[in-house]
Symmetry: C2
Subunit: 604 residues, 2 copies
C-alpha cells in the first residue's frame, strides 16, 4: 500500500522534512500550509524537490470553514479557494483537504453544505483538483464521519469525496463499522493516527497527543480493515500532531513512522486473513544474558561476587568476562577509555526460537542492524540496536552456542536463577518509539504506562512482556518537561527463590552492597499490610521491600536493590504466587533512597 | 495570616524542601506521606529539624479511603489510622487530612460515613489529633465540599472538622458562597491552589497542572473572602501538584509560592474592604529605555543607525551609549569579556509615577533588589531582577533624570516614536513565575496564553499589559518538553507611524537589515485578506507582514523584523485603529524565517 505522511508529523524546515521522510521510504506527503508558508522556495521548486526525492504530494491541507455559510461569506470562501487551487497547480498537489466548518457562523443545514461543496468541487474540477471533505471531531455541526459522507453523497460530484481520519472517528467513540457502507472510490484519502486513551478536551488531545499507530490505544487495524473492504486504494497517510515529535530528530521520527505503517499492514492482514507482508515474529523466550560495560571491573565483579555470581569464563578473543549463577548470565566488557560514559548496560541477549527469523523481522521493521566483528570460529549472533542504543542479540534458545566462545566452566547454583526483568532508561523523545519497537519487532505486549514520583520530577514507566512472562522489560523515561536531560538509571532484576536468605547473607557480608531503605517505609508498611510482627521485623531488618497484588490469582513480591555503579544497579526479586507487577508502589521510596543525602544545610 | 505549604509543592528531599520553604518565610508545612517515607530521618528528627527552621508541621496527609465502608474494612482502616496517629505524635503533627473515599467498595450512605468518621475522631482525640475531612472532586460519592460538611456536622465531634481545597471546589464549578454557612471553627484547614482553565479529566488536571494563586484562572480572592467571613483563623496553605515545580529549583519555587500568598492577601483585603498589607501598585506608564549588552557595538550601532536612531549620549562614568529616536531609547552596554553570553537584552527602564513606591512594592513581594554602583552625582535608580534575569529599573515619569547622566543631545525625530513592546524569553520553569511576578509586582494584566509552531517545537507566549496599553510585555517560553534548553529570542518592538516609509528606506539601504519573508506568505495573505492589488504588492515588495483584528473597535497591524544579533532582534510595528494584538498569526512564518537555511542535503 502507498505510504504517506503529513509534514506536520516531523520537525524541521519543509525541505528537511521532505528529506527525512524520503529517506525513511515514504511514497508521498501531505503538505501542511504552515510548512509551505515558512519555506523560502516557490511551490514549483518544492514540487521539483519532492519529485527528485521520489515523493508525491498526495494532499494539501487544511482548507477551513468553507461550507454551510451565508452567500457573502461563500463568495469570499470561493475566492480563497481559487487562490489555493492555483497554488496547488504550482505545487503539483491534486487533493485539497476541506475540514468541516468550526466557525460560529456555520449553518446547521446539510443540504446547504452539500450545495456549496458541490460548487467548490466544480471549481476544483477546472483545475484538475479533488476535494476531500473531513468531519473534525469538534466540527460546529458536522462532527462524525457518517454525516460528512452523507453530505458528500448528497452533493454528488465526481471531484468531491470524503477523507477519513482515524483520530476524529475513534476519539469520539464512533463505530468504524459504518465505513463499509461508503464506496471505496468516494474515500479520497485516509489519515491515520493513534493516541493514548486520555479523558480530555478532544481538540487539545488531537493537537498535542496523537502518536503513530501502535504507540497508543486505538484499534487501527480494525478501522483499516473496514476501509480496505470498501475497495479504498489510496495511500495510508500518517497525520500526527505530537509535541515531542515536533522537536525530535526528523530522520528518526520518520523511520519510527514508517515502522508503524509496516506493523499496521501486518496487523490488518491478520484481520483480513490475507498474507502477511512481514516475516512472522519469533517472540523471545528468555534472557540469554545482559552485558555491562564498565571501567571498574573490580567494583562490578565484587558486587556480582557478593550476589553469588562466579566468573565462569573469559571471551576467547575479546576482553569480555562471563559471570554466571544458574541461568542468570552477565557479561562484563570494557568501556573504551576515551568514552565519556560511565558503567552502563550496553547489550541484552534474547533467547529466540529462530534467531535468523528474529533478525529478518527486525530488519524488515527498519531496526538498525549492527555489524559484529567475529573471529572464524565464534558463534554467529545477529544484533540490532534498540531505541535507547542497547544492542539486542538474538541467541538460539535450543543451542546457546555463544557461551562456547567463553570456554566457560559450570556455573554455580545459588538462590538466583535467572534474569527476571531488565529496566532501560529512555530520553523523552525515544519513549513512544521504544513502545512500538518492542511491540512490533519482538512481539511484546505493552502494559499500562505509569508515573512515579522522584524527588526531582515525575518519571514514566511502561512494562513490556512476552505471553509467558519470561521476558519482561521496563521502559523508563525521565518525564517530558525534564529540567535535565539526565536519563533514568538502568537495572537488571534477578529472580531469587529465597530472597530472605540472600538478603541475610548480603547484610552479613557488607554494609556497602545494598541500598538502605528508610525506616519510615517499614512503619508505613505495617499500616498498609497486616504482615504479622515476625515477618514485618524480618523485612525491616533485612531492608526488603514488599508488595502484594490481587491481579490474576494474586501474589506477593519481595525485592531489594544494590547500590548503583555508574548508571546501573541490580534488583533481587522473588515472586510468590501469581504476582505480575514490578513493585511500583515502592518506587518513590526507592527513588528517594537512590539520591545521595543532601549536604548539610547552608544558611544565608 | 499564617502561611503554609505542602511539601509536594516543591522539589527535593524532605530536608531540602523544609530548608527552602523556611528561607522563603513560610510558617508551616503540610507533610506529604511519600516525602516522609523516602526520608532517612526518623519522625522525631524531622520534627526537630522543622522546629529549628521555625516551621510548624500543620498537617499530615493523605489518609485515604476510610469512611462509609463495611465493618471488616472499618476494622482494618482503624488499625491503619492507629499507626498514623502514633506516627503523627512522633512527628509533632496534630491534624490529619482524610480525603473522601474513592474506592469502589465505598457505600453511598452519609449517615454511615458520619458514624465512622466520628469513631475515627474519637480515636484521634486520644492522641490529641484532629481530623480534617475533605471532599475530593473525584470522590466516589462525596465529591462536593457541602456534602463533606454535612457529614462532618452529622458526626458532631469536636475533633472532626472539614478541610476546604480551592481546587476541588472551583474545578467542579461549585459556588464557593456556600462556605459562609460553615462555622469558622469547623473549618480545620484551607488548601489553596490555582489552575489554568483546562477542559480535561479533573484528576489529571489536579495532579499535573495546579499552580500558585495568581498563575491560573481561578478567583481565589473571592473564595478566600468567603472563608475568612466564617471566622476561619487557620493557615493559608498551598497544595500544588505541578510537573514543572516538581523539577524546578526548590528555593526559587518557595519564593514564588510565598509571593503568591502575599498578593492573595492583598486581593482578599480589597474584596473585604480591609487595609492592604502591601504598598499599593504604581503601575508603569511607559518604557523609559531598553538596554542591550553586546560585544559587537559596531554591528548593533549600525543596525540602530539604519533604523534611524542616533547615538545621543555616552554615560559619564560607565561604558554605556544612549541611542535615541523620538521617545524610543536604547542603551548599549558591554558584555564582560569573560561572559559566555551573546548579545542580549539585559535591562528595561519603566516609567513609574512613583519609583520609590514601585521599588517598595517590588521588595515587599520578594523581588530580588539589585545593588547599583552609583557615582555621587548620578541619578538614583531602583532596580529589581525579573524572573528571566532582566533588570527592571523604575524611572520617574515626570522627571527622567537618568538621561542627564548621559549628557545627551536632542534625539532625532523619525517615524519611530517609542517602544511598543518588549518580548522576553523564559525557560520552562520560570514561565508561571513570570506571569505572577508581572501581575503582582507591576500590576500588569495577563492576556491569554497562546502557542506558536516553530519548525523545531511549539513555543508558548503570554502577553501582559497595563490598562492603557502603553506598557506591553510578551513573555515567551520554549515549550515544556523542550529538546534543548535553548531560550527563545528576545525582541524590542518599536512603534512606527509610517512603517511603509521605514520599510522602503531600509530595503533601499541594504539587504542585510531586514528578515526576508518567504514569498509563499504573500500568496496566502492574498487568499486570507482582500487587500487590493496595489496594497498587496507593496507589502510583498517591502517584506511587511499584515494582520487584522475585530477585537475592540477593530484595527490593522503592519510589522517587520530585523535580522537577529545574538539573542536579540527588533520588530518595527504600526498599529492602525484599535489593534491590540501582536501579529501572532504571523509568528510561525517569522519563526521559520529566523532559522538559518538548511545546508544542502546530504545523501546516503
Amino acid at each position: 500500500m502507498r505510504k504517506s505522511i503529513a509534514t506536520v508529523s516531523v520537525s524541521g524546515s519543509l525541505t528537511e522534512k521532505l528529506e527525512a521522510v524520503a529517506r525513511a521510504g515514504f511514497d508521498g506527503v501531505e503538505i501542511f500550509e504552515n510548512d509551505l508558508l515558512g519555506c523560502p522556495l516557490p511551490p514549483e521548486q518544492i514540487h521539483e524537490r519532492a519529485q527528485a526525492l521520489g515523493l508525491g504530494i498526495d494532499l494539501y491541507q487544511p482548507f477551513r470553514d468553507f461550507e454551510a455559510v451565508t452567500p457573502d461569506r461563500l463568495a469570499d470562501n470561493l475566492r480563497r479557494a481559487d487562490h489555493k487551487f492555483r497554488l496547488m497547480e504550482r505545487l503539483g498537489a491534486d487533493i485539497l483537504l476541506v475540514c468541516s466548518n468550526v466557525s460560529p457562523g456555520a449553518v446547521d443545514d446539510d443540504a446547504l453544505a452539500a450545495e456549496q461543496l458541490r460548487l467548490l468541487a466544480e471549481r476544483a474540477a477546472e483545475h484538475g483538483i479533488k476535494i476531500a471533505y473531513e468531519a473534525l471531531a469538534w466540527g460546529r455541526h458536522v462532527d462524525t464521519y457518517l454525516r460528512a459522507w452523507r453530505i458528500v453523497r448528497m452533493a454528488d460530484h465526481p471531484n468531491l469525496g470524503t477523507c477519513l481520519d482515524s483520530f476524529h472517528i475513534l476519539s469520539r467513540g464512533s463505530d468504524p463499522g459504518g465505513i463499509e457502507a461508503i464506496p471505496g472510490d468516494k474515500i479520497f484519502f485516509l489519515q491515520l493516527a493513534d493516541a493514548p486513551l486520555l479523558a480530555m478536551d478532544v481538540l487539545q488531545w488531537s493537537r498535542h497527543y496523537r502518536c503513530f499507530p501502535g504507540q497508543g490505544g486505538f484499534d487501527l487495524a480494525g478501522l483499516l480493515a473496514h476501509v480496505l473492504r470498501t475497495g479504498y486504494a489510496g495511500p495510508l497517510s500518517l497525520e500526527v500532531f505530537n509535541d515531542s515529535f515536533r522537536q525530535a530528530d526528523a530522520g528518526r521520527t520518520a523511520v519510527d513512522a514508517m515502522r508503524s505503517l509496516l506493523a499496521l499492514e501486518e496487523s490488518v492482514a491478520e484481520v483480513l486473513g490475507t498474507g502477511s507482508p512481514l516475516p512472522r515474529p519469533a517472540q523471545p523466550e528468555g534472557f540469554a544474558f545482559a552485558e555491562l560495560a564498565t571501567r571498574d571491573h573490580k567494583r562490578l565483579g565484587g558486587l556480582l561476587g557478593a550476589l553469588g555470581f562466579a566468573r565462569t569464563g573469559q571471551h576467547e578473543t575479546k576482553p569480555v568476562e562471563l559471570w554466571e549463577q544458574g541461568r542468570a548470565r552477565i557479561l562484563l566488557s570494557r568501556i573504551h577509555p576515551d568514552s565519556p560514559t560511565d558503567t552502563s548496560l550496553v547489550a541484552i541477549g534474547l533467547e529466540s526460537p529462530d534467531p535468523a527469523l528474529s533478525a529478518a523481522r527486525a530488519k524488515s521493521l527498519l531496526s538498525p542492524a549492527l555489524p559484529r566483528h567475529r573471529a572464524a570460529d565464534e558463534a554467529p549472533l545477529a544484533a540490532v540496536a534498540a531505541p535507547d542504543g542497547t544492542e539486542l542479540f538474538f541467541c538460539d534458545s535450543a543451542q546457546p552456542r555463544w557461551r562456547d566462545d567463553f570456554d566457560a566452566v559450570e556455573p554455580p547454583r545459588g538462590h538466583i536463577g535467572h534474569i527476571d526483568h531488565v529496566a532501560l532508561g529512555h530520553s523523552w523523545d525515544h519513549f513512544d518509539e521504544a513502545t512500538l519497537f518492542y511491540r512490533s519487532v519482538l512481539g511484546l505486549r505493552p502494559h499500562e504506562s505509569v508515573e512515579m514520583a522522584d524527588p526531582y520530577g515525575l518519571l514514566r514507566s511502561r512494562a513490556m512482556s512476552n505471553a509467558s512472562g519470561t521476558v519482561r522489560l521496563a521502559l523508563d523515561m525521565a518525564h517530558v518537561g525534564a529540567a535535565s536531560q539526565e536519563l533514568p538509571g538502568q537495572h537488571i532484576a534477578l529472580a531469587d527463590d529465597d530472597v530472605v536468605a540472600t538478603a541475610r547473607r548480603l547484610r552479613a557480608l557488607s554494609d556497602d552492597v545494598l541500598l538502605p531503605i528508610p525506616d519510615n517505609y517499614y512503619d508505613d508498611l505495617r499500616a498498609r499490610f497486616d504482615l504479622g510482627e515476625a515477618r514485618h521485623r524480618e523485612l525491616r531488618e533485612l531492608g526488603l521491600m514488599y508488595d502484594r497484588s490481587d491481579e490474576g490469582e494474586g501474589g506477593e513480591f519481595l525485592h531489594l536493590y544494590t547500590v548503583t555503579v555508574g548508571r546501573v544497579f541490580f534488583e533481587i526479586v522473588q515472586r510468590v504466587g501469581d504476582y505480575r507487577g514490578f513493585g511500583m508502589a515502592n518506587a518513590p521510596v526507592r527513588l528517594a533512597a537512590q539520591h545521595p543525602p543532601a549536604p548539610a544545610p547552608e544558611r544565608d
